[in-house]
């Protein structure tokens, strides 16, 4: 446990709370991007260089920008006057608190956290690549297919209205 972890954890949590609780939607999206960046920092802290950088590239570079674009495309004039949460928000908070309590109870009672801490394992890009191309080649192909299908599907869903109007 060092300072880097606490700083990154505090930044990540604060911006995650901001992403969920801020009034302006664009502020939420920007806070989300900061939370993603904080998580990437935590991954780097854990020695997962490749995943951390992929996290920045995919989440900060693509998903956050996508969300921002969606916000721009669905500008809601009435949103400013409406209340922030849905009417059943105390119930939602209670469910979340319950889930958190259950998770913490499970974590603290787990034997896994008592394992001795080992040396920083090396997860070089080359090792990841070799594993991806040997043991995990089928999941990789499936993911590739899924991404292609999702891309085409997203384009078709977003374009549908346009075509039926013509």
């Amino acid at each position: 446990m060092d300072w880097a972890f606490f700083i990154l954890a505090a930044v990540t949590l604060a911006s995650a709370v901001g992403a969920m609780a801020l009034r302006r939607l664009v502020h939420c999206a920007l806070a989300l991007a900061l939370a993603f960046a904080g998580l990437a920092g935590l991954y780097l802290q854990l020695g997962a260089q490749f995943v951390g950088l992929a996290q920045v590239l995919v989440y900060v570079g693509a998903v956050a920008v996508l969300i921002v674009f969606a916000l721009m495309l669905t500008r809601n004039v009435a949103a400013a006057t409406q209340p922030l949460g849905s009417p059943s928000w105390p119930l939602g908070l209670a469910v979340a608190a319950l889930a958190f309590g259950a998770l913490v109870a499970a974590i603290l009672s787990s034997p896994a956290i008592q394992r001795p801490v080992r040396e920083l394992p090396s997860g070089t890009v080359q090792q990841i690549g070799i594993r991806l191309m040997t043991d995990f080649v089928l999941p990789l192909e499936v993911i590739a297919l899924l991404l292609t299908v999702a891309l085409i599907g997203a384009v078709i869903i977003a374009m549908q209205e346009e075509r039926s109007r013509e």
């Binding site: 972890f5 990540t12 949590l13 995650a16 992403a19 969920m20 939607l25 989300l32 939370a35 998580l39 935590l42 991954y43 854990l46 997962a48 995943v51 996290q55 995919v58 693509a62 996508l66 969300i67 674009f69 969606a70 495309l73 669905t74 809601n76 949103a79 409406q82 922030l84 949460g85 849905s86 059943s88 928000w89 119930l91 939602g92 908070l93 469910v95 979340a96 889930a99 998770l103 913490v104 974590i107 896994a112 956290i113 801490v117 080992r118 394992p121 997860g123 090792q127 990841i128 991806l132 995990f136 999941p139 899924l146 991404l147 999702a150 891309l151 599907g153 997203a154 869903i157 977003a158």
Partner: protein, 103 residues
């Protein structure tokens, strides 16, 4: 507290924040943001378990996190496309107002 427990509790907190947001906010895009946060909390779990596992050479946690990032990207793209399609129909992204089955 061991480092693994700290990472796991942080991940649980992130998950709870994401869940609370997804359940309480009205805007569909923010519901999606909450889901993204929960997915990221899961990713943090994968990586933390990889780091403190008895045999990290297998790299299973890392590769799972990579797959999860890929799937989350696909999910975000489809989800946002759906939200835009809904917005075109109803002129709103408020999930409480989108309650009729007719298109």
């Amino acid at each position: 507290m061991t480092p693994l427990a700290a990472y796991l509790i942080l991940s649980a907190l992130l998950f709870a924040v994401g869940l609370a947001g997804a359940l309480t906010r009205r805007n569909a895009i923010l519901v999606l943001v909450g889901i993204e946060l929960m997915l990221n909390a899961a990713n943090l779990n994968f990586i933390a378990f990889w780091r403190y596992s008895p045999n990290p050479e297998a790299l299973t946690g890392l590769i799972f996190a990579l797959f999860s990032i890929g799937i989350a990207a696909a999910e975000a793209a489809v989800g946002l496309a759906l939200i835009i399609a809904i917005y075109r129909h109803y002129q709103t992204t408020n999930v409480d107002e989108v309650n009729s089955m007719k298109g």
